[in-house]
Amino acid sequence: MKKHYKVVVGGPLNYVFNREQLTAIEDVLERDLVELGVRSVFLIDMAGNIIANKGNGEGRHDIYSLAALAAGNFGAVSTMAKLIGEEEFSLLFHRGREESIHFSKLADDFLLITIFGKALSLGFLRLKVAEATGKIAAILEC
């Protein structure tokens, strides 16, 4: 498998993902989360760009807007954490009547956003998200 490479442009990193990595990441999202009953899951960077996304076909979300808002929301919450003297909050989760959304940081630069319905418990989802983020971090070698 070809390794991905990172190019430094004046500090923060830009990323290029090759086909093998993206296929491997999508497999993890599909097998570990969508097959578990998650409605929609996407991997984004902290700038709000989408790297990979998978869904069960039920949700027709505007994922580009969701990604931009999720990155903004995560950034805002992280800054709030620092203002009260916390490094970061360990649980980032919004519960709705039908749908809920869960955020998980992956390495320093990425976020895994999961949208799921009432059938899944938060605890089980967190366990599975933790497994999936471990596998994706290994694929990204970060």
């Binding site: 004046g10 923060p12 902290m46 580009y64 807007s65 903004g72």
Partner: protein, 201 residues
């Protein structure tokens, strides 16, 4: 932080409209949204306060077609211009691949323009970047107000205040009426793609 997806053959890049409050950043995006409505599949996202001022950001994704075989998707953002929202401004700036600085041509806004440009440089520095590292285009907005007899800074004066060291491409424009709004966007997209090509491809 641009993303190049070799599987889908897609490039995503982030362009941020920066500048002082009430300068016309949101109006730029609104004009683009109206003009290219048929090409934009989603609604423009805005997070505003009750007073119709930008609280967090506006967001508008545009697909601009293929460049060198890649589908290019540009994400346009605005920052909140008001001084008190510096923390959110910094968050929106994160990962910006290109910047449009929207200056207000009104004579009374001269100081705010200069302070906002200084603030941009300070906020880029928190990401270990300088104005020289990121493609930037300057837009001197509200040129249409000249016809209404409102005192405006001349383009030469604006260049001297804001662009004497940067020497970035600049446009006199009217976000309200449309002149040079699209040209500004096209210029920053071309510069951003050039910069990404140099650095990534």
């Amino acid at each position: 932080m641009a993303i190049v997806n070799l599987k889908k053959g897609e490039v995503q890049a982030k362009i941020v409209y920066y500048g002082p409050g009430r300068g016309g950043k949101t109006t730029n995006l609104e004009y683009i949204y109206r003009k290219f409505h048929d090409r934009i599949k989603t609604e423009m996202v805005t997070i505003k306060t009750h007073g119709d001022r930008t609280l967090f950001f506006d967001f508008l994704p545009i697909e601009i077609g293929k460049i060198k075989g890649f589908d290019v998707r540009i994400q346009l953002y605005t920052v909140p211009g008001q001084v008190k929202y510096d923390a959110t401004r910094r968050l929106v700036l994160r990962g910006a691949d290109g910047i449009v600085f929207v200056a207000d041509s009104l004579v009374v806004r001269r100081k705010e323009n200069m302070l906002s440009l200084k603030n941009l440089a300070d906020n880029l520095a928190t990401y270990k970047k300088s104005l020289a590292d990121v493609p930037i285009v300057l837009q001197y907005n509200k040129r249409d107000l000249e016809d209404e007899g409102i005192p405006l800074l001349s383009l030469e004066a604006l260049e001297k205040d804001l662009n004497s060291r940067l020497r970035a491409p600049s446009f006199g424009a009217s976000a309200q009426k449309g002149p040079n709004v699209v040209q500004t966007m096209k210029k920053i997209i071309v510069m951003t793609m050039d910069s990404l090509r140099r650095n990534l491809m």
